[in-house]
């Protein structure tokens, strides 16, 4: 039963193709919904669509929101303006801060990078205060939860592990540089490498079946991905010493043995006297950013 005086915390996960919303009280989740963006038009129309959906949510809840957290994949500048979002370029230049305040006038609202919020949620779920989270999917995202707080912290930019350089002369990244982790280890990058090694096109289902069957081209393509991920984990560990590394993302969770391979390559990279952190699968799957957005709402409310 819903208690009318219970505080509602709203998390919003804004994605390139859809938006997910989740409302929690102190006792658990009371509402979860999602919608796909209408055909691409403009940021103004996208926001209108979001407003309609939020109005419907308010009507369902019946009480004002206590706080709102928003997960954003876009790059947001210090002035609260979207500076880049390859998945929805129409949003470039949008005053995100002002737009969110207009959308939620009744409650404090904060936003953070979706990878950072994924790390926040996964860290809370794991019960560890020093967690590196890596999501390997269409891109590579992630975040670092250090001493119980996000690193580098709200308003100070996001933890862009996908653009950590792991191969100086590696393949070209969408950002223009070479050898970014994302360019080497994302799902599409791994499928491209697998296709080269196989000499034929490779789908995700082909790859996971062939990895399971131990086929050389598939294992080799995934091994290189896991080696790059391990190199990134090793680098972060050298500098900031997370006590746990969690691997999630749709691609990594779908490939059998992915986490174990990262762990094995990480062990190979260890220096004497410096044991690497344990590597484990992330627990929340595709819900990590959304759950992190709710956690962010709780944090700004208290």
């Amino acid at each position: 039963m819903r208690s009318p005086d219970q505080a509602h915390y709203l998390g919003v996960d804004i994605g390139g193709t859809k938006v997910a919303l989740r409302v929690e009280t102190d006792t658990g989740c009371v509402d979860e919904s999602a919608f796909a963006w209408e055909p691409r038009r403009s940021a103004t129309l996208d926001l209108a669509q979001l407003t309609t959906h939020v109005d419907g949510l308010r009507a369902r809840l019946g009480t004002p929101l206590r706080a709102v957290g928003v997960a954003m994949p876009a790059t947001v500048g210090p002035a609260g303006r979207v500076t880049a979002w390859p998945s929805r370029p129409e949003w470039t230049g949008l005053e995100l801060e002002a737009s969110l305040r207009a959308l939620f006038p009744e409650a404090p609202v904060a936003w953070a990078d979706d990878g950072d919020l994924g790390a926040l949620a996964e860290a809370e779920e794991s019960g560890c205060d020093d967690v590196l989270y890596l999501g390997v999917g269409t891109g590579v995202g992630g975040g670092l939860f250090l001493g119980g707080a996000l690193c580098p912290g709200l308003g100070r930019g996001s933890f862009e592990i996908g653009h950590l350089i792991v191969e100086l002369d590696g393949v070209r990244c969408v950002c223009g540089r070479r050898g970014c982790l994302q360019a080497v280890a994302s799902g599409p990058a791994t499928l491209r490498r697998a296709a080269l090694l196989r000499g034929a096109a490779v789908t995700f289902d082909d790859l996971r079946a062939a990895v399971r069957g131990g086929q050389l081209w598939a294992v080799a393509a995934v091994e290189q991905t896991c080696r790059a991920v391990a190199a990134a984990v090793a680098g972060v560990h050298e500098l900031l010493h997370p006590r746990l590394a969690l691997i999630g993302g749709g691609f990594a969770t779908g490939i059998p043995g992915f986490t174990g391979l990262v762990s094995a390559h990480l062990a190979d990279l260890a220096r004497p006297g410096h044991p690497p952190p344990p590597v484990a699968p992330a627990a929340l799957g595709g819900l990590s950013s959304l759950r992190g957005a709710v956690s962010l709402a709780r944090r700004i409310a208290s």
Partner: protein, 231 residues
């Protein structure tokens, strides 16, 4: 957004392939570029035994990698062509070259502790003589010719024989070849088959045969052959 998957084991579940202990190479079109020499030897043998007229080299080319007498049978040519073909091949052997990057590959594989063998459509003595003349013979523990096994490629005998001589399990070896017959021979012996594309005359057929691995340059093999741990 993906479906959450929980409870995935933290350790590898069979995805990590064990390291390779041995590499079995085809010779012509993989290690040595003998294409021109084989063409010339074939033309001379044809002229001597069959007579005037253009030698059916295009058809012969498609069967490269098989044992020469088998090719003669398939093409309906007299087995008597073997004698002049072999004679001319020996005479022209100095013109055979090693593909760029192959010596470096063989050296690195040996440094990493892998054991190497050759399984060729040629006869054993001729293959060993050719490799010796190129100073490559010491790289290989075994050089096996089609005359030294019951059934030549595409049968698995030659690959199985190499495994037996080296006492290496099939799943710890890889075979590198440039023809569908090489892939078939490896497959029949349950050995992973790598397709060498740097000189293959049959790239489309080779890829259509579904190799376990495609190599565009000899050094591409190194990624699959990490150093063998010392025991």
């Amino acid at each position: 957004m993906t479906v959450p998957i929980v409870g995935q084991p933290a350790t590898a579940t069979g995805a990590a392939a064990p390291g390779r202990l041995a590499v079995i190479f085809d010779l012509d079109g993989v290690i040595v570029d003998s294409f021109a020499v084989m063409g010339e030897a074939f033309a001379i043998a044809y002229a001597e035994v069959v007579g005037d007229g253009p030698a059916p080299f295009e058809e012969y080319r498609r069967h490269l990698g098989r044992y020469f007498p088998d090719i003669m049978r398939i093409m309906g040519l007299p087995l008597a062509m073997e004698e002049p073909f072999v004679r001319e091949s020996y005479r022209l052997a100095r013109q055979v070259t090693v593909f760029d990057g192959v010596v470096e590959l063989l050296l690195e594989l040996r440094v990493r502790g892998l054991r190497l063998a050759v399984a060729t459509g040629k006869s054993g003595p001729r293959a060993r003589s050719l490799l010796d003349g190129l100073n490559l013979l010491p790289f290989f523990e075994h050089v096996i010719g089609s005359d030294e096994v019951p059934r030549p490629k595409p049968a698995p005998d030659i690959v199985q024989h190499a495994l037996g001589l080296m006492d290496v399990r099939a799943d710890r070896a890889v075979m590198v070849g440039d023809m569908p017959t090489d892939l078939a021979s490896a497959r029949g012996a349950d050995v992973a088959a790598a397709a060498a594309l740097w000189a293959s005359p049959e790239v489309d057929e080779l890829l259509a045969a579904g190799p376990d691995l495609v190599l565009r340059h000899p050094s591409d093999l190194l990624a699959f052959c990490p150093a063998v741990p010392a025991r």
